[in-house]
């Protein structure tokens, strides 16, 4: 029994630390919208969490209604993946069906006088989205092995990203070559147009002057 308690304390600290770990904070003025976009790859898992920081330092007091925000997560096509209406915290998790910019927008209701709502937001995608502590506990894997596994996944992800960047650079090179050849074509065409216009002018004026019996 005492051993269980001893095991429980670090687990609680762990969960608390995980809650406190890496998340960013930003301010939202009442009545305004703020959107954060992230580029996600196809079939990549993503997990996000947001919560409003209570302006009142006394933790027992519930969050005032004026500080409840509305959040919505949209895909690049416009589908909504998560909608939290007038909530003080929430979370979302989904697998991105296609590559593109996924946007999460926060909206604070209007209030007079205007107040500032502080939101704590965390968005993890890809490797970070996986719950490594669960994987470890389920498989009874050695902790060092789990760390190395995670590092290996990171390296694989970096490798894939390099391929993606290479592809994009190839596309850009094609685009630049196409623009280059377009410029050459258009310059040549502009000389042709100029000569054509000159020829038209001369033909038309010659006919005009001959008609007027000046030539």
């Amino acid at each position: 029994m005492p051993r269980l308690i001893l095991l429980l304390i670090p687990t609680i600290t762990l969960s608390l630390l995980l809650l406190l770990s890496e998340s960013m904070r930003f301010d939202l003025r009442s009545g305004s919208t703020k959107c954060i976009t992230e580029d996600l790859k196809r079939e990549s898992m993503t997990v996000g969490r947001y919560s409003v920081i209570n302006p009142i330092t006394d933790q027992d007091q519930p969050l005032p209604q004026s500080h409840h925000i509305t959040a919505r997560v949209t895909s690049p096509r416009g589908n909504s993946y998560h909608y939290g209406d007038t909530v003080d915290s929430g979370s979302f998790a989904f697998t991105a069906p296609e590559t593109g910019d996924y946007m999460v927008c926060f909206w604070a209701p209007s209030h007079d006088p205007p107040l500032i709502v502080t939101i704590e937001f965390e968005w993890n995608a890809g490797i970070d989205a996986r719950n490594w502590s669960n994987v470890a506990r389920k498989g009874h894997i050695d902790l060092m092995e789990i760390e190395l596994k995670r590092l290996y996944e990171t390296v694989r992800y970096i490798h894939e990203e390099m391929f993606y960047l290479r592809e994009r650079e190839e596309e850009m090179q094609q685009l630049n070559r196409a623009t280059n050849s377009k410029m050459a074509t258009f310059s040549f065409l502009s000389i042709m147009v100029c000569l054509g216009v000159v020829a038209l002018q001369m033909w038309h004026l010659k006919a005009f002057f001959e008609r007027k019996k000046l030539l």
């Binding site: 095991l7 670090p10 995980l18 406190l20 760390e147 590092l151 960047l165 005009f208």
Partner: protein, 218 residues
Amino acid sequence: MDGKSCRRLQSANLCLTFSFLLHFATQSASALSITVNKEECVSETVLFPGDTVSGNFVVIDHDIFWTPQHTGIRFTITSPVGNQVLDVKGTSGHKFEFKAPRSGAYKFCFYNPVAAPEIVSFYIHTGHIPHQHDKATDEHFNPVNVRIAELREALHSVTAEQKYLKAREVRHRFTNESTRNRVIFYTLMEYVLLAIASGLQVVYIRRLFGKSIAYNRI
């Protein structure tokens, strides 16, 4: 008594190391894009003094078709006590890395001097490497964990570099597409203007040599 307490300590240590590693394993951030209208601030908490905070940002210019090149935005980093850690003006992208002298909430702010909103893609990462003297009392602390943490930090820096390159590539692509559009548009405008100018020339000459030619020679 000794054996039992040792075993108890061992399991507690294992749990502590486990939680320690996993805690720092979750420290990471993804590249996020925000629209900066006038001022946008983001704050990140640094948990331990001496942590390295690294990151980068790139301004992604969408509307560079008509408007001239953007003057750039201003980026500042403020420490929890109020000192300015970094202040760069008129940039379209920057990479930074500094060792946080104290723990607390660091504020990263973007200021846009122009009325047109700009999209900024940024990435901020705080990394901690557990040192030997952090766990001075723990005999079972494995120095391999320090190496693993260092390796993880190195990989994070590679990832940060990649995200920077990706954002720069997006910006570069917008520039190139805008160049192509401008080439096509300006060339077609040039043709149209040439045709109009020559048409006007012909009309003017016709008017000059109009009916009155026989009477007033020009």
